[in-house]
Symmetry: C2
DNA sequence: CTGAAAGCGCTAACAC
DNA sequence: GTGTTAGCGCTTTCAG
């Protein structure tokens, strides 16, 4: 299995420079530069401009971003800093969203993950040395955060969390609406005794989702029964608590904080021989692969908008950086209509985003 | 909610160049360069060298990688290409491993995710323009792959898959050993009727795991009972199939291909009032968060070595690139001993890695 | 032992 | 309209 040091062959592809285009076309490098950067408005004869572009294409010219950045101090790279990536399945989706968004404008992502967090400043410094044009600071659970101070001197956008002091724009899921939509969905499917299965962890997301749950109940004239609410941890304890709730209150619908909670409802349902889709309805949040594979009538998933958050955050960041070639655009209006309430089919609800643009707007206020 | 264009303040930190160190110390830039690159063996008086290093540290000098790369055509960036990141929870762990490994040598990761794959060549080109020193090509499921041709001209390492023609080193989980270890673990815990719950998908990983399962049974003199094996898809069908197996063969131990399969065993167990840890033992593979939270006696998880694969792959790649400052090292010997078989405690088994170094070694042969 | 000079690929004043 | 020049920060001969 070999000590390494093996030789693999790497023949590099020929790389074209402006100089070559210049000599090939019979002009100077500066003219080439002007044309290829679209700064030839009434400065270069459209004749020659055309010729330059032609040979550029023919030779397959691509600018060298490093050389360019040396002059412009703009690299076309975005720094993506994520905490706890390794431990959650969502990082991929956020990164992909940011990636896709970035690539539409020729940007590219330099990623670091700072789990331990003691090395975070060091990592951020590394990104700065590489000259990233701005930072995406992604947290893995929706929460309120302080933008790390080294980032405050650069364009930054916070993803999946809200910046506590509006030091930069931020984007997060609309937790309230998750609770509201989920509950309304159950109500409109005909449920009348809707349980909330939460977590014992003290998460801001839960507070808002539960407020949404209660608001929807209230709005429909359904009473708020504390016996239908429980918050559970893990394992047997969780199973027992959910089981007790089912036995005591016999709910006909469940709104579960996340897939872990859904998991316990599944097991209790199995043990009581209740079938999801026939006897009970369930709305879960998240899309862990295991659960995402499962479909049943009257089983609904609220999808957390990880991809979208990454996408829009990168977009916002690029706007902030002020790429002159692109106009600055507002945050998205991502309120998708609630899906049709066909109670016989599995459904996916898309989650709305909450965005904070600056100190002016407080999108979370309600 | 606000068109953008808002102004945030970004005061850049002062950036120190070699020139400043030179004038500050009263020497020339070239001398500074020599010293700061440790090329001053008997070329620079240790006096001045010391002085230079001192002021460099005092001023907080950090080299500008862009400028350096312009001369050396080495950027210190590794391209990380992953397919299907968004759809699996593992990408994060692989990226983190690669990241950690890279940062120990001052490398940094440029990531792209090519889901659609029609844009893959374009993305790879982008990375090449940015001058990455090499590529990590990560697949999300263990399989045999062809290294994309644009990568063949650069140092590359394949992660979580084996390269079909040994065009470059690759690293993947040892699937056979997963099956073997899992089954032995169950046997040594006292199980005698061990079921295998697989997937209907045609995955190479399953073939090897099942071979490991059978080998362990054979080795212990347990008969290979086809009635104890099933392969299931999703939902009710899966549930029914697993239920039938349980009713017909009453296994005392389960080896599940992945968390999705474990999920069905959980439900059937709940429905039959069988308790994991008391009545049955279960070994699952993977660590989706939902399942990872769950612990029980006689519940064992085989952890796929995503982090480790990322870590070692990046290491291998850097060795390939031939950073002269570091010696080239062999692939890791990551065979962790099987954990103690305390049947009363939940356990995690660490998976061994399979590595292919070149056309010479075929580590998968068995 | 150390410094001057050239140049990596590109951009931006400023001449012509 | 187009070319010349200078220089971004760094490495690397080559003189002294």
């Amino acid at each position: 299995m070999g000590t390494a040091g093996d030789e693999y062959e790497y023949r590099g592809a020929p790389v074209i420079t402006m100089k070559q285009i210049a000599t090939e076309t019979g002009v100077s490098v500066s003219t080439v530069s002007l044309v290829l950067n679209n700064r030839d408005r009434g400065r270069v004869k459209s004749e020659t401009a055309k010729a330059i572009r032609r040979t550029a294409k023919r030779l397959g010219y691509h600018p060298n971003p490093m050389a360019r950045s040396l002059r412009t101090s703009r690299t076309g790279m975005l720094g993506f800093i994520s905490e706890e990536v390794a431990t959650t399945p969502y990082a991929g989706a956020i990164i992909k969203g940011a990636q896709d968004s970035a690539s539409t404008r020729g940007y590219v992502l330099l990623t670091v993950s700072t789990d331990g967090s003691d090395r975070e400043p060091e990592q951020i410094q590394a990104l700065k040395r590489y000259g990233v044009d701005g930072f995406l600071y992604a947290k893995m659970y929706d929460q309120v955060v302080d933008l790390p101070s080294p980032l405050r001197s650069s364009p930054s956008v916070v993803v999946n969390a809200l910046e506590s002091r509006d030091r930069c724009p931020s984007i997060a899921p609309d937790e309230y609406l998750i609770g509201y939509d989920a509950t309304r969905h159950l109500i409109e499917s005909g449920c009348r005794r809707i349980a909330y299965i939460g977590t014992t962890q003290d998460l801001p997301a839960q507070v808002d989702r539960q407020r949404g749950y209660e608001a929807a109940l209230h709005e429909s004239g359904l009473s708020k029964d504390p016996g239908l609410v429980c918050k559970v941890g893990f394992n047997q304890e969780a199973l027992d608590t959910v089981g007790a709730l089912v036995d005591r209150a016999s709910p006909d619908g469940f709104f579960c904080f996340n897939d872990s909670r859904s998991f316990y409802v599944y097991q209790i349902a199995a043990a009581r021989h209740l079938s999801i889709g026939r006897d009970i309805s369930l709305v879960g949040v998240d899309n862990h692969p295991v659960m995402a594979e499962t479909t049943a009538p009257r089983l609904t998933t609220v999808e957390l908008p990880h991809y979208e958050m990454g996408y829009w955050a990168a977009r916002k960041l690029m706007d902030l950086i002020g790429d002159s070639d692109f106009s600055t655009l507002p945050w998205p209006q991502t309120r998708a209509p609630l899906p049709p309430l066909d109670a016989e089919e599995p459904t996916r609800i898309h989650c709305r985003l909450v965005v904070k643009d600056s100190a002016r707007a407080d999108a979370r206020s309600r």
